[in-house]
Symmetry: C2
Subunit: 269 residues, 2 copies
Amino acid sequence: MSQFSDATALQPDGPGRFRADVHPDWSIAGRTNGGYLLSLLARAATEHAAAEGAATPVPVAAAATYLSPAPPGPASVVVDTLRAGRTTGAYRVRLEAAGEPRVEATVTLGRLSPDAEPFHDAVPQVQLPPAEQCVLLTRKGPGFDVPIMQVVHERLDPACLGWATGSPSGGGELRGHVELADGAPVDPLALLLLVDALPPATFDLGLGGWVPTLQLTAFVRALPSPGPLVVRQLARLVEDGLVDETCDVWDARGRLVATGHQLAGVRMR
Amino acid sequence: MSQFSDATALQPDGPGRFRADVHPDWSIAGRTNGGYLLSLLARAATEHAAAEGAATPVPVAAAATYLSPAPPGPASVVVDTLRAGRTTGAYRVRLEAAGEPRVEATVTLGRLSPDAEPFHDAVPQVQLPPAEQCVLLTRKGPGFDVPIMQVVHERLDPACLGWATGSPSGGGELRGHVELADGAPVDPLALLLLVDALPPATFDLGLGGWVPTLQLTAFVRALPSPGPLVVRQLARLVEDGLVDETCDVWDARGRLVATGHQLAGVRMR
């Protein structure tokens, strides 16, 4: 069992209900990662849909609203079927811990073909040096503990790491090679993690603070091939205490496989 | 009363409940526009939040999942408060018509300052000819009726209108000057309409068919200045019967004020 599948494991607890265990490793400075939580909720949607006999196994879209931080430990997940169709279905999923709602998501399930080819692709893979010339991020963050770096290996382009030494590039873009630390293959659920696993792109703007995600929507666009992936996190607009970021993920073939769009709070020094 | 505020009017119908009237003008070939529906749901969230005493009037994020087409006529809207905070709140909104759920959205309400200035902007306004050199789209679409073009005036760059004469550019991008036809000012609710009001960018790829939105997430990033806006709809990836599009909206000052990201079905001829 991989670390990721272990950390997103669900125990059935009645129709549309699951027990989960929010794992402490998938966190940054004591805060559970939003992409990890989105994966967990989407997994609940897929397991509930399968139990209902749906033939729509892939979370093609997942939109989460973060209500309050989800602490490590026991949690309950409730799934409601909004619509179950032949080619797509929609499910509302809510995670609660200690009696409080933490995250609510709507997950659209569909089907993707392993043989699909792009008809049109306006998002070419970002260029970056080979993995061996990139810098592996470690659990020891800039002044705080980043446990997620032990379970997700992120090798960032040195050109976008100036913030680590006080000289951010100002581009608002982080990019790197990413894989699960235990070598487990990245499936569509893990893609939902990867669209929110890089450090905030605002680090590259000299904004070093915590960037709490308010809303994150991810689209899984293709089934990823085996091997390491390339991820780019881009800050689009920083204004009025908010930032919206777009995160693209390409597989080892260089194909766009997932995109995340998030709105987050940011302290503009 | 403007056409837009009239078409999104809500009658209170008990705590967290409203009656709405889905207006036939905000539609394309008999299908109610998804951006219009998102505006309507977000308005319900703002009115419910105000009734509860919240001081968070702006829908800074709104994520909708479309369950089934919403026909013109009476509809009911139900709002549940997920979290009400001092600076942001989250609300689940559902629209039902004829006893069936049609759209469910999560709306994040916050506050935006009229004096905010961008700290970082990676999305410069798209270049296009002045409005008088652009082409006003009419209700008479390519083989079908497009009533929404009577209430939203869209003047598209002729360079991205080749599809109308059988010669799409292949870029997958539509761009134009947009305003409400009756000259009403565009408020944050109307921005949620505008992120889904242009024709599908897939038209510019020679894919002429209906593009049903599965999921649409919009971020309102700034309060728009008065005057016409510029809108760009871009197809990012078309693959496996799905397209994801990003739509950016700039106000008359050239400032990015809203962005929409959607996943939709597409027939790949």
